[in-house]
Subunit: 205 residues, 2 copies
């Protein structure tokens, strides 16, 4: 049920979504650097003035698209109950990993656009920042949940950096290679590698 007060918000979010979608499809067609504001507004069927009511420039719109997409994923992960996430056998840690790969598959256009555009160094580093931040928080909570009060043999920051780098790098390769394995399978591969390590891969054979 919509109240009159909700309507303008909804119109705003619709306009922004149209602009984000227009930018994403245009980047894939001609590359980030070549896309103009005019291209975007023409594709979105909106006026130039409307664009500047919402965004400063192309980069602002692009960064918002990335943030929006990352926020959506974070909201999904936050909904997993802590008891599930940090359960005894470590299986729960597989859930956010699965969500990450599913999310990347659903937003593959946007992320591929980001990876291909040389002009989007800011967006790439923002995504790296977000991943590291999340990995650090996750690692800390996981450690505390296990009731381990002393510092681990390996510093938590090293664990978080390792986790973030391996996740982001594996994800980027998978997207760039055209997703050669389904998201669920990639998540299972990654979970196995990151939780049990390379040694487990040969030993269980």
């Amino acid at each position: 049920m919509s109240t009159p007060a909700q309507r303008p918000d909804r119109r705003v979010s619709r306009t922004r979504r149209l602009l984000r979608e227009a930018l994403t499809s245009l980047i894939l067609e001609k590359g980030y650097d070549a896309v103009t504001i005019e291209d975007i507004t023409r594709r979105a069927d909106l006026g130039r003035t409307t664009f500047y009511l919402h965004y400063r420039d192309k980069e602002h719109l692009f960064l918002e698209s990335i943030e929006q997409s990352a926020d959506e994923l974070a909201r999904q992960i936050v909904q997993i109950p802590a008891e599930t996430l940090f359960n005894e056998n470590g299986e729960g840690a597989g859930l956010p990993i699965a969500l990450v790969f599913e999310h990347a598959a659903q937003n593959a256009d946007l992320y591929r656009a980001m990876l291909r555009s040389e002009g989007s160094i800011k967006a790439t580093s923002r995504l790296r920042e977000l991943t590291i931040q999340y990995a650090l928080e996750f690692t800390r909570r996981w450690w505390e949940r296990r009731g381990l009060t002393s510092e681990p043999h390996i510093p938590l920051e090293v664990i978080a950096q390792f986790f973030a780098a391996s996740l982001l790098g594996t994800l980027v390769w998978w997207l760039e290679a055209g997703m050669p394995y389904p998201p669920r399978q990639m998540a299972a591969f990654f979970r196995r590698l990151v939780l049990d390590g390379l040694r487990s891969v040969t030993e269980s054979h």
Copy 2:
């Protein structure tokens, strides 16, 4: 003992080394984009003509510095006997990892210069390419050495991508953070994480 035939080669390699060193120190001072050929030749105390006898442009010199440094590391790794590298308990796999971190520490200026320069996207992707190529070869040889003829449950390309991403990402963070742990210790952390996985870090506590 030097023969007359060796001397010109030696002079060439000395000139090139001076130019590489000049570029590296200048990048750290003012950033890749701001460095001019004149800056480089002035710092190296060589003529502009000499520069163009050896390199097309600044990027050419920079890419050669990266390649040269990576080659040097590859030569060290190749010298490890196969029996040591691929021994039963997997300890041998730790040797190239230790070499990588020691090498990065010795060449920290160059690598940090590379990471900081926005103009050096080519160098960064070249280094990523080299790491992936090496990881794939290493993973294949390791698999064959273990006499495992059937494909692993996890495709070798996924293993190699995971390995390369986690190594490069952890290394980059460590360099950017000013090497907060000594190279040997970082190598030991990384080896543990990549071979035995995150689960082993809590379990052994």
